[in-house]
Each structure stands twice: as structure tokens, then as C-alpha cells.
Subunit: 304 residues, 2 copies
């Protein structure tokens, strides 16, 4: 299967490398890592075993990739204003587009440009950091939940899940993509935001009792925002928040992507992870007061 | 009148200097500024005109001051564990104690140690910064509302107000000290906390629309916490928050004391300004969700 990766950050590089290693035909749109990967290939340092891909098809311009069977989008959402133009040259008549980006609004953007029947979304639970150019560090996890933007469990989404599984990536096709997206927000909203605001990793946050309580309260707000949407099955607030906190307590001083973005002076993914979820919750009649406050504080920090 | 100042920070130095200039007999317990003031007196750089006191009675130990008619407490509340021992040597049989400290809990502490009949509290609206040792900078304002801890409008509180007025300090005796304390918290809770957390002065905070909205929401929460107490007269939420915001818009890039404490690595006055008010509001049946969140975030920062 010919697959194009739009957005070769840590996520795009990691999943692309896993897929290429399993025999798929990968093509990466690359910026920061282009020279290094051209010269010496792509190195993946993974908790599951390191590997090296000596030859990687990488491009500076998506026009040079041409039509593919599947586009995987890993672009940071703060660059979404470029997304349509980056994806368009990869589309043939039957090309599917799978966005693994954070937060809400990405499928809608792609659907408006290219038709909703092309669009799938996936939620990635992945701990990666970029290393030096040409290297990606996989610190743990990697599971993907993917589904059709239009809902329902399609043959296509089952097939994509199998392709990821065959590449060693735990992957599940889900019928309710929106629920999966909100589930991910229950983690992203507290941990990404607080880590960026306080410049503390997840372990330091959880070790401070008032911060841990705040994380739980933020989670409960997001779950109430989620359950105010029309989901196939509501999220069990107590059980799911307990699970996520326990899960995160096993991450050893992990620095969420938004913390790294802030530390390195990049913009934050505030629209996808805060603004749009807050709007959707409010439209459904739920105020997420603490989430809104966190969004205000994060946006104030963007002014520096 | 023999007056002892316990806690010669910017506030203690400024009011003490004004009182001494008006002819009162002042005695300052001093730490940081002791050497400089011994050597060259005390310099006040004020928006109302600079002045210099060549001779100032300053002490390293409050035992050397001995009994006074009035103790004025300007100690930072994070040093309250020392307060009783610092004040005790200044007490004669009729000595009154006026605490001008921030937040809640200070009168209670003094009353438990020395009897409630001695205790008055005052709320100072004062923009000062410490300059180099021996200098205090008065940037604006200075008004005091003072009253009896036990409530009611006493002859003593009226007399103290007149003494301040005679020294050029706008001062009003109020019958409901608790209301005055909460009014001050309506300013302190948003501006002290957000400036310390975001390291932004009041002008920068108000210039960022989401922060300004957050300030207003924090104010409304504090006012609902205040009005849940038994006050002689409830605070008008809309009018008072509008007033305070307009008042603060006239401060040119003022840095609240808590922001300076954080920047200079000192502890923050979190008990007096956040913990105790949150507890009192909760006891009265009001949750201040955003205030609690701000308190959590500030306390997390104390761990650095």
C-alpha cells in the first residue's frame, strides 16, 4: 500500500517507520529531518527494540509524492492552515485520509476540503520525543483507536487497523470516533495544559497532591463535556479517570508534547485541544469552567 | 503616641515614615534595611513628593522597643509563625494592635494570643515597592480602611483613623472589618495570584482579553464567597468588580507584591490570601472553583 505521511514529527516518523518496516511503501513529507534522513536514514530508538531504516523516501514538497492509497496526517494542528494544500497533491480518486492529529476539528477541516467519505480519524496513545535529526525516540505505548469520520465500523477501518497491527502497532477500529477523540481529551486537557503552564512533567504534577486533585477535576469536567455530546456509550467518569491517572503514574517523568512545545518556544495546539472542545461542550449545554480557565492561562502565555 | 512597627517591609516603612513625619514617636523592628537606615536614615520616594527622615529609631530585636501605645503589624503573613513572639514585648496593659497584613486569619491569630479586645485590622490599598536598602518607593494610593476585630465603630478606631489622616494617609474607620477584608481579597485574589503565576504585571494581564475575563470571573467568585459570610451589607458584584478593574487600569504596569515575591524566590502569602478565604467560603456554603484552581497552581509553583 502506498502511504504518504504529512507531518513528520515524532508521531509521523514513528508510525511511518513501523509501517515501512512491515513492508508498506512509505513516503514522508519532511522538513526538520530531511537532510539527516537523506544522508543516513531513519533511526528509531524504541522501548520495544531499536531499529534503523537505511533508505527512506522523503520529500520537501508533497507534489513530488503524488497520489497515494492512504494519507496519514501527523501535522501539528497549529499548522492546520497549510493542511489542505499539503494533502491535495496526494489524492487519487480513492485515496483515504487518516488524521492522527490531536484534539477536535481536524476531520471536519479535511472533510470540508475533500469530502467526508475520504476521512478517517485516529487517536494515538503514544509517548515519543524527537531526538536529534534523523532519530525518533519511542518511550512507550503506541496504541491507536481509529474510525470513520462518518461513524460506523467500516471494512476500510478494519483493514487499516490490521495494517497497523501487522506493523506491530496495537490498533483497534472503533465505531464511535467522536467518543475516542473525547477520551483522548480527558488525558490531553489536564496533562498537556498543566505541564506546559507549570513546566512540570506528568510525574511531578501527580506527586503534588493539589495538582493531582486538579487533574482529576479537569478530567471530570471533560467527561461531562464528552457525555453531553451524543455518544454511542457514555464514559464512566469515576472508572475512566481512575484508569487514566493510574496509567499516567506508570509514565516516568514523561513530558507531554505541549510542555515541549512551550519549552522550545513553539505555539501550542490550543484550538484543537481547548477552544473547539470548550465550544462543543458549551453548545451541548455544559460549561467546563476549570478547562476554560486553563485555556485562558495558556493563551496568556502565548503572548510572551 | 508611641508606635511600634513590626515588619518593616515596603508597607511598614511607608506608613511608619508618614506617621513619624507627622510628629508621632515611631519605633521600627527592622531586618533588611537596618544597617542602611542606621547609617543614613529613611528615604521615601513618593508620587506625592519625596522626603527623607534623617533619624529613625530602628531595632533588630523587639524587646529593645519595649511597651508602646500602638503596634502596627506589616509582617508578611508567611512569617506569621513568628508574629506572637515579635509582638509580645511591645504590649503594655492598654496597647492596641493594628494588623495591616494581607488576607484573612491575622486578627484571629493575634486575638488568640493577646485577647480580642486589643485587636484592630486595617486594609491598605497601597502601591509600594522596596527600593535599595533605606529607600521605599510609593507608587500610588495608600488609603486604609480600619476597624475593630470585634466589630462596631469604636472611639479608638476613629482616633486611629484621625492619626493616619493627620499624617496625610487617607483613612476611614469602618464598622465591618470583615467586609473590608473581603473587599480587598476581591482585588488580591485575582491580581496577586495571576501576576505571580504568569509573571505578568497588572497592565499586561488586563491587556489580554481572556485574562481580563478570568480576572472578572475570579472577582465574582470572591464576591459570592464574601456575600455568603454575614456582612452588614452585601457587596454589589457588578458595580464593585467594574470599579476595581477600572481602578487597576489606571495602574501603569504595577507589579503586585506576590509577583515580586515569586520573582525574588520568596514564599507566597497563600494561606492568608487563598487557603483561609477558600475555607471560610466553603464553610459558608460557597465553592470558589476558579479560586481553588488558582491556589492549586500557585502552590504547585512553591515546590520548585
Amino acid at each position: 500500500m502506498k502511504i504518504g505521511i504529512i507531518g513528520s514529527g515524532a508521531l509521523g516518523l514513528y508510525y511511518g517507520a513501523m509501517l515501512q518496516k512491515s513492508g508498506q511503501d512509505l513516503h514522508f513529507l519532511m522538513r526538520r529531518d530531511f537532510d539527516a534522513v537523506q544522508r543516513k536514514g531513519l533511526q528509531v530508538d524504541s522501548v520495544n527494540g531499536n531499529f534503523h531504516l537505511p533508505k527512506v523516501a522523503c520529500y520537501r514538497n508533497s507534489k513530488d509524492i503524488g497520489p497515494v492509497d492512504l494519507v496519514i496526517v501527523g501535522l501539528k494542528t497549529f499548522s492546520n492552515q497549510h493542511l489542505k494544500d499539503l494533502v491535495r497533491p496526494l489524492l487519487g480518486t480513492r485515496t483515504a485520509i487518516l488524521t492522527l492529529q490531536n484534539g477536535l476539528g481536524n476531520e471536519e477541516l479535511l472533510a470540508a476540503a475533500f469530502g467526508r467519505e475520504r476521512i478517517l480519524g485516529g487517536v494515538a496513545f503514544l509517548c515519543t520525543n524527537r531526538g536529534e535529526p534523523g532519530t525518533v525516540q519511542h518511550l512507550g505505548e503506541g496504541r491507536i483507536h481509529l474510525g470513520e469520520f462518518s461513524g460506523g465500523l467500516s471494512a476500510r477501518s478494519r483493514m487499516l487497523a490490521e495494517i497497523f497491527q501487522a506493523a506491530g502497532v496495537p490498533c483497534e477500529a472503533v465505531s464511535d470516533l467522536r467518543r475516542a477523540r473525547w477520551e483522548k481529551l480527558v488525558w490531553n486537557i489536564p496533562f498537556n495544559g498543566l505541564s506546559a503552564l507549570m513546566k512540570k512533567d506528568v510525574t511531578d504534577l501527580l506527586d503534588h497532591l493539589p495538582s493531582k486533585e486538579l487533574i482529576r477535576m479537569l478530567m471530570l469536567e471533560v467527561i461531562s463535556g464528552a457525555n453531553a455530546q451524543v455518544l454511542e456509550q457514555p464514559i464512566d467518569a469515576k472508572k475512566f479517570s481512575d484508569q487514566l491517572i493510574a496509567f499516567t503514574e506508570n509514565m516516568d517523568h514523561y513530558r507531554p508534547s505541549m510542555m515541549i512545545d512551550r519549552l522550545e518556544g513553539r505555539p501550542l495546539e490550543l484550538d484543537a485541544i481547548y477552544r473547539i472542545p470548550i465550544e462543543q461542550a458549551r453548545t451541548a449545554g455544559t460549561d467546563m469552567a476549570r478547562v476554560e480557565m486553563l485555556y485562558s492561562l495558556l493563551s496568556a502565555g502565548e503572548e510572551n
